[in-house]
């Protein structure tokens, strides 16, 4: 039993990261039909931006701020203006391919300009264990969980409680009508790109101390986040959160109880089952078919 508890906590902590990444993914999809195959690399890059800032002598807190700002400029602003905008009118598939190329580009740039080796990364949460209900739980897991939950709660509050959030949702759900009632749709779309860039920077900050900063670490993470988004509901923020937590827990349980070799297969099989029986995702609403 004690084992199960530990697995659940660790699973929720990784799941919270997946959720953060998956939320950004669904935001971009909703507002601009962008499937970002580079989302995993988007999480990998900010850690290196922060490391680079520290290399030139910035203290950790300043590096974090710089990293987040640079991430919002590069992965939010530049990504939208330079790649998504020119590609948008061409449809979903060419844009998806372009983001694949972007993923290669980011990965190779980091490898070339920084290092092909894994670098350690300082943690914002102190290491060590605390005792909860007689179990030793790592502070890092709890810290990750708490920060991720705060971020997600903040985001959902923004979306559901503020007028800005309502405008964003309107822009996402029906751009034409939103435009008619005076929502600055373009600005709202840009805002979602910036929020996505902020979320990936945050995820980067949380996850890199655990898994080290490595140029190739985006692949697995991006895939997990996609699965989480699909499983939970491609077009729902809360779906992405639920999907993220579910995949995180499932992944950890599969490693312990199924087999370490096929642990990656369990979320995949789950994904196939969900797509076949509930294509809109567990919490998603069905999108009308356009034929």
């Amino acid at each position: 039993m004690s084992n199960l508890f530990d697995l659940l906590v660790a699973g929720l902590a990784t799941g919270a990261i997946y959720a953060l990444v998956a939320v950004g993914f669904t935001l971009l999809w909703q507002t601009s039909q962008t499937i970002n195959f580079a989302q995993g690399e988007f999480v990998m890059l900010p850690a290196f931006l922060m490391l680079a800032a520290m290399h030139v002598g910035a203290p950790f807190w300043l590096a974090i701020i710089l990293g987040i700002l640079l991430s919002m400029i590069l992965l939010g602003l530049a990504f939208k203006l330079l790649l998504v905008d020119p590609m948008m009118r061409h449809g979903v598939l060419p844009l998806a391919i372009a983001t694949m190329a972007l993923a290669i580009g980011i990965k190779e740039s980091v490898k070339q300009f920084f290092s092909a080796e894994a670098s350690p990364f300082p943690s914002i949460v102190p290491t060590g264990d605390v005792s909860i209900l007689g179990h030793a739980v790592s502070l890092q897991s709890i810290g990750v969980l708490v920060v991720a939950i705060l971020a997600v709660v903040g985001l959902t509050t923004l979306l559901n409680r503020t007028s800005l959030g309502h405008q964003m949702q309107a822009a996402a759900q029906n751009p034409t009508v939103a435009r008619i009632i005076g929502v600055p749709v373009e600005r709202m779309i840009m805002l979602t790109f910036l929020i996505n860039a902020f979320l990936v920077a945050l995820a980067s900050l949380l996850i890199t101390p655990i898994y080290l900063a490595k140029f190739s670490s985006g692949e697995v993470l991006g895939q997990a986040a996609f699965i989480a988004a699909i499983v939970g509901g491609f077009n729902q923020v809360r779906g992405a959160i639920a999907g993220g937590l579910l995949i995180g827990v499932l992944d950890n349980l599969a490693a312990a109880y199924v087999s370490t070799q096929y642990r990656a297969a369990v979320p995949m099989l789950f994904l196939i089952a969900v797509i076949l029986f509930r294509p809109q995702g567990l919490l998603g609403r069905a999108e009308e078919r356009t034929v």
């Binding site: 060419p94 699909i230 099989l269």
Partner: protein, 332 residues
């Protein structure tokens, strides 16, 4: 005009074929390997072009089928079977699995389908890596023999390049015939408007499955050639990134254009080699080149050509119209 253009086209085609046969004769080992790789990847990309470009079904699993073909060929030929038999098995196996993979396509479309096939790709990779009794696990299978064709050993790079080129030629002819057959038209009808295709009596169910199965079978053929080409296989080359690469080849070359896969494979295989003089920067430049190309022309390289030709035709037609109009006016 058309007679001249036609013979020009045929002459150009013959020149390219002759160049593909003659020029590599004085290539070194590495050049021949790259060129053989181009031929093999063209076959795999042609398969994906049938599924994606002609039938409009997004698949991220083509790399997995290359892997299935490669393992089938590696396991059989190292146990003494001849390569043609291994290719046959690779075709049958990939066709059957591709058929089954087509079933989700009957239920879900577009990005959902992409993710089902992506999941399949990952599962196939796990099987290659973990079932070591069959696949050798992470250690892979080495000493894969190259075939004897009509008594000729093709161990050296040049003869084996001709094996790859010959296979590419056979596959090209088969695909050429296929897309001009009623099947090919049914595929295109499926891509353009599934509902209308159905109302015209196209059995959409069967053709969707067929598109997946035939496309996958060509992936299997490519894999069956890839194994003797590299003479050593392990799971790594067949992971998801191969599927993504193949998808990129089809889109960059021009999805739905017959010559798209040849060009796409050329860019994906040769361009990084040409850019190698830039040291570690070549994949970066490659990525930037792909992005710029897609921004410029989302229908790939052949899309640019197609637009250019269409523009010229409209210009020529409007010029003719203008001439006819002025004649009409002077006659009045």
């Amino acid at each position: 005009m058309s007679g001249f253009a036609r013979s020009l086209k045929i002459a150009l085609g013959l020149a390219i074929i002759a160049a593909l046969i003659i020029v590599p004769m004085n290539f070194n080992r590495y050049g021949l390997f790259i060129l053989s790789q181009w031929a093999v990847m063209s076959i795999a990309a042609m398969g994906l072009n049938l599924t994606l470009g002609y039938a409009g079904q997004v698949s991220l699993a083509q790399g997995a089928f290359v892997g299935i073909g490669a393992y089938a060929s590696a396991i059989m030929t190292t146990h003494g079977w001849p390569l043609p038999a291994a290719i046959l098995v690779a075709i049958v196996l990939s066709f059957a699995i591709g058929w089954v993979l087509g079933y989700p396509a009957l239920r879900v479309q577009h990005h959902y389908l992409a993710f089902v096939t992506l999941a399949f790709s990952t599962l196939a990779f796990l099987v290659f890596r973990n079932e070591s009794w069959l696949t050798g696990g992470i250690y892979g299978i080495s000493n894969i023999p190259r075939p004897h064709i009509f008594g000729f050993a093709t161990n050296r790079p040049l003869p084996f390049y001709y094996v790859c080129l010959g296979s590419l030629a056979i596959v090209s002819l088969a695909v050429w015939w296929l897309i001009r057959s009623p099947w090919g038209r049914a595929f295109m009808a499926l891509r353009e408007n599934p509902l209308r295709a159905q109302s015209l009596g196209v059995d959409t169910r069967r053709y969707t499955l067929m598109a997946f199965a035939i496309g996958s079978a060509l992936g299997g053929v490519a894999g069956a050639l890839y194994a003797p080409l590299t003479q050593y296989i392990d799971p790594v080359p067949f992971n998801l990134s191969l599927s993504l690469d193949l998808l990129m080849m089809v889109i960059v070359g021009g999805a739905g254009f017959y010559f798209g896969p040849f060009l796409g494979a050329m860019i994906a295989v040769l361009l990084p080699e040409w850019l190698r003089f830039t040291d570690g920067y070549y994949l970066m430049l490659y990525a930037v080149a792909v992005m710029l190309l897609l921004i410029w022309s989302p229908t790939g390289i052949l899309g640019i050509l197609d637009r250019y030709l269409a523009e010229r035709r409209t210009k020529a037609a409007s010029a003719l119209r203008a001439v006819a109009k002025s004649r009409l006016e002077t006659a009045q």
